[in-house]
Amino acid sequence: MAAWERFIDTFFKWEVIAEYLPEIAKGFLITCEIAVLVVLCGLVLGLALAVLRSYRVRPINVVIVVFVDTHRALPPLVLILLFYFGLPNVGISLSGFAVLWVVLTLVLASFAEEIFWAGILSVDKGQWQAARSTGLGFTQTMFYVVLPQAVRMMIPPLTNRTIAITKNTALGSVIGVGEILNEATTAQSFSGNASPLMVGAIAYLILFLPVVYLGRWIETRFAWKKA
């Protein structure tokens, strides 16, 4: 067999692909579900933490900083294994899906908090003073004056981080969540052929390549602040 034919037969065998495509498509949907849940919950929680931090209540801020630092320093896989295998023994049993969702949300929230916080700090003090002197309250100043400017500045790092963390949904295969990678590896071991894995990889490309390009476009679009 020619090398080329052998390559096709190993990675693009049509019969195998046709057989397992429905499973992988199901995995694709699950990956999308988790990704959307994580992005929504993570960004909202991150923003909430950053706003809370701006009230500068010392004990609360210490808790936030420790929370954020821990989740930035720990590999997500460690947290996933800890939640999935550790919690049931103390009476909290979460499904693999829930564990993946919670852990990635916490991780994204931590990175997002740090980015939002840097954004809030980067807004000039004069903006605060001017807004407060016109009679806006602290919270009003935050939401009408400071955040709109801060968010704009923070969009490029935020998109990059969000993409990176959403890709971690693949870690769900380790705890049996039926997402793309899990379905693909299962199909690979059933069929004894690497085509499902190739399909899985292509599924990720379909999902994330547009996001990578969106990220790059946003980066150039908002580049004015970099100087």
């Binding site: 023994n89 103390v90 949904t169 590896t185």
Partner: protein
């Protein structure tokens, strides 16, 4: 409360687990040093090719980089480790991790270097070339040193990610820190070894995370 202490902070099990975890830690450190060096040098290569003026060089490299940025590292690793054997390429877990990380990290580091190189004005290149430096000399002595300094926080932040990412090597049975911890957990049915591994990652990375967030706030603020 006692159940939590028993389950997550069991000293007896931690003492028992220590020799294995220590071996795992050494392998993690070895792996980190190899993949960071590979990633940093691969990234530099990628950045130089990406900023090349020849589109026949630049465009294919950019496409490949985008592909590796879009594929989750775990997918890449499993592809290299358990997909390639079907094509007759059998790699040990260590080699497979190095290959997958090289591809993934070069793309990320490359993107950071590229941003750094693009942040240096063309006047620098023109000035350097007009004093008689060659293209290569201009890059090595003038552009890259400034570029690297400009993107130092990003390089640092990506390096933290790389160190954290080495934990996925456990999935292909490379016996690094997390693999060792998970092995003992599965024997003892107790999560303390994973807490231990987590504590070790924290001890290694927390100082760097702190430093980084200082750097970031100083630059933005």
């Amino acid at each position: 409360m006692e159940a939590i202490a028993e389950q997550f902070f069991n000293l007896e099990i931690m003492v028992l687990a220590w020799p294995t975890i220590w071996r795992g830690l050494l392998l993690t450190l070895l792996l980190c040093s190899v993949v960071i060096v590979l990633g940093l040098s691969g990234g530099l290569m990628v950045a130089l090719l990406c900023t090349s003026r020849n589109p026949l060089v630049r465009i294919p490299v950019i496409i490949v980089v985008d592909i590796f940025r879009a594929i989750p590292p775990l997918v890449l690793l499993i592809f290299v480790y358990s997909g390639l054997p079907f094509a007759g390429i059998q790699l040990s877990p260590f080699t497979a991790v190095c290959v997958a990380f090289f591809l993934n990290n070069s793309a990320y580091y490359g993107e950071i270097y590229r941003a750094g190189i693009e942040s240096i004005g063309t006047g620098q290149t023109e000035a350097a070339r007009s004093t008689g430096l060659s293209k290569l000399q201009t890059m090595t002595y003038v552009i890259i040193p400034q570029a690297v300094r400009n993107v130092l926080p990003d390089l640092l932040s990506n390096t933290i990610e790389v160190v954290k990412l080495t934990s996925i090597a456990s999935v292909v049975a490379f016996q690094e820190l997390l693999y060792s911890a998970e092995m003992i957990r599965s024997i003892t049915y107790n999560a303390s070894p994973i807490v231990m591994a987590g504590a070790i990652y924290l001890a290694m990375l927390w100082p760097v995370v702190r430093l980084l967030s200082r750097l970031e706030h100083r630059i933005d603020g």
